[in-house]
């Protein structure tokens, strides 16, 4: 990678990785305090999901038959549902499902798409042409409909929902990373490495892949938000993770079945949780984008 320094146009070196991550966080806090604030919110939500068993005031499935469908009170801050389960506890436990699904889907889908895009951009030719057609077919479905069809075909459950949402993320990873790789491939430092006799895997993973990390991170944070909304929609439509395990989506579906006039607290809190979480990840993603955008990187 020493060739890099000879070419002022080549992207920055990635060697001092650990220090640069810490510095990145500090820079984010300084440059855009709003994004940093939402980053903290996102971190708190993740923390809440991880420690749901300790944070939640009640077990999520425990019914209190003396307090059925009661509005928010001192004992139950977010009220209770038809069979006396604590809404706050269920919302907290719902965050675990939502985040597991979202992170799982992004880890599988966006990553698989990114690697596919890397291969497409790098090898080009017939492989790329066929891949682009397949990606086009995948993109001919609106995300939610594709996810619904796959989740339904596989039958509900945590794993299938993750797979269903992951598949909808593949084309985006493929498209974005492919175009990044296409431009990187022509860079002088890659050419130099090729001239020195580097093998295909070495060129792909040692020289090109590190430069795809920034666009991948931007994509991944945005996809977290999208995945959470799709998961909630699937739960709402009854093809997500089946009850009684609480998810924000199936809690909203339950609320609709709670009677002619659904109690407002059963509708309000799960939806507010979705909105807050997606907002936090989106704004964090915006901040990361500003930070990592190659056009802004010189200023950092």
């Amino acid at each position: 990678m020493t060739v890099t320094s000879a070419d002022p146009n080549a992207p920055a070196q990635t060697a001092p990785r650990r220090r640069s991550i810490l510095r990145g966080v500090l820079t984010l806090a300084r440059r855009s305090p709003i994004s940093a604030f939402w980053g903290v919110v996102a971190a708190l939500i993740v923390l809440m999901a991880v420690s749901a068993d300790f944070v939640a005031p009640y077990p999520p499935l425990k019914s209190d038959f003396r307090a059925m469908q009661k509005p928010p009170s001192e004992k139950h801050w977010f009220g209770t549902d038809q069979i006396g389960r604590d809404t706050l506890a269920r919302v907290i436990h719902g965050s675990r499902t939502s985040l597991t699904v979202a992170i799982g889907a992004v880890l599988f889908g966006t990553t698989l798409g990114a690697l596919w895009g890397l291969a497409c951009g790098y090898f080009g030719g017939r492989f790329d042409m066929v891949s682009q057609r397949i990606i086009e077919f995948l993109q001919s479905f609106p995300d939610l409909i594709l996810a619904m069809a796959i989740a339904m075909a596989l039958g509900g459950g945590l794993g299938t929902v993750i797979v269903a949402i992951a598949i909808t993320r593949i084309p985006f990873g493929g498209r974005v990373i492919r175009s990044v790789v296409l431009s990187l491939k022509e860079m002088q430092y890659v050419e130099a490495a090729r001239g020195l006799g580097a093998s295909h895997p070495r060129l792909m993973f040692r020289h090109i892949l590190p430069q795809c990390v920034a666009p991948y991170l931007i994509l991944a944070t945005t996809h977290l938000g999208v995945a959470i909304v799709i998961e909630a929609s699937l739960g709402f439509l009854g093809v997500g993770i089946p009850p009684p395990n609480p998810t924000w989506g199936n809690m909203l579906a339950d609320a609709l079945n709670a009677g002619l006039v659904p109690p407002w607290w059963l509708v309000f809190f799960p939806g507010a949780a979705i909105t807050l979480t997606v907002l936090a990840f989106n704004l964090l993603g915006d901040g990361i984008r500003d930070l990592l955008d190659p056009r802004l990187r010189g200023a950092v």
């Binding site: 086009e136 077919f137 479905f141 409909i145 659904p262 939806g271 989106n282 915006d286």
Partner: protein, 329 residues
């Protein structure tokens, strides 16, 4: 400057022909993909129909009988060809649970969803474009900040939740009742509007956020162009410069985005129609999913995908008509 070129010429026709050919290929690929998802992934459609418990209660002979009756014991490619043939003939099959054929259901419920989609696009333009102009004219002002905050907020709020909140408020204050049957626009326009307005507003505002964001950045880019400066240098009124010179070009990416969003609205209308209880096609999709009605689902998913492909072709052709640079590529 966007100009309608009266002469379409060969380039335009060959562009349309190429686009249509690609579209046909995509529809073919999509049909194979839908078929693969609905028939191969579950391994056994009977499980999807009867549920794992009902499945285990069936005897071996019953299973074979149902499989043969549904045409599921044929080789896959025979099943695929039979399906495609039926669709071309306009036969979309029948639900296990209703007497109405799927084709009839689409004809009856489709217009309502189409209305919601089109109305929501109109709303998104009516709200989104002025907001984009306001925000681009004074970037980084307070108004710009407020607009950006709201557009980010609307991107995060799930439409079906907003729908539920609206229904809840209407129930609370006005005793709203979910519409049980669709009313055609041509029979009773007012009753029809009452049904579609809720979902259309919810979906429209969601799209308006994207439109405002895209419109703002497109306008900011166009305003910096030389020809806009020239127009200003001629002494044209700033409003005229924006309205006649900058806006038309800034709208090109917005039109493209609108096409993509129209597809998203078709999908988004499924949970939103469920929230409002709207008797549209999205609600049928929800029913098909909750009843595990594989065959109805297969046809509806295919229909939605084809509509999405057609919308994209229409948008591309519109853009090529408006922007000569595209068709000569």
């Amino acid at each position: 400057m966007v100009e309608w070129s009266g002469e379409l010429g060969g380039a335009m026709y060959s562009y349309i022909a190429r686009r249509l050919a690609f579209g046909a290929l995509t529809v073919l690929g999509v049909s194979i993909m839908v078929f693969l998802i609905m028939r191969i992934l579950p391994g056994d459609p009977l499980v999807a129909i009867f549920g794992p418990e009902g499945m285990s209660k069936l005897t071996e002979a019953q299973r074979a009988h149902y499989m043969a009756e549904l045409g599921l014991s044929d080789p896959l490619w025979v099943q695929y060809l039979a399906w495609v043939k039926a669709i071309i003939a306009g036969d979309f099959g029948r639900s296990f649970f209703r007497s109405e054929s799927v084709a009839e259901m689409i004809m009856r419920r489709g217009p309502l969803t189409a209305e919601i989609a089109i109305l929501s696009v109109l709303i998104s333009w009516i709200v989104g474009i002025p907001v984009a102009i306001l925000s681009a004219l004074k970037p980084n002002s307070v108004a710009d900040g407020v607009v950006r905050f709201f557009s980010i907020l609307f991107l995060a709020v799930p439409g079906f939740w907003v729908g539920m909140l609206i229904v809840l408020a209407l129930l609370f204050w006005f005793g709203y009742k979910a519409p049980l049957v669709g009313v055609s626009l041509f029979v009773d326009p007012l009753a029809n509007l009452q049904i579609v307005i809720g979902p259309a507003v919810v979906l429209g505002l969601g799209q308006a956020a994207y439109i405002a964001r895209m419109g703002r950045s497109a306008l900011l880019e166009v305003i910096r162009e030389d020809y806009v400066r020239t127009a200003r240098a001629k002494g044209l009124n700033n409003r005229l410069v924006i309205a006649l010179h900058a806006l038309p070009n800034a709208l090109l990416p917005v039109i493209t985005l609108s096409g993509v969003l129209l597809g998203l609205v078709l999908a988004g209308s499924i949970p939103v129609e469920r929230a409002f209880g709207t008797p549209g096609l999205g609600y049928s999709m929800f029913q098909a999913v909750s009843e595990r009605d594989v065959f109805v689902m297969q046809n509806l998913v295919f229909l939605y995908a084809v509509v999405f492909v057609v919308i994209n072709i229409a948008v591309d052709v519109t853009i090529a008509l408006l922007d000569p640079r595209i068709r000569y590529r």
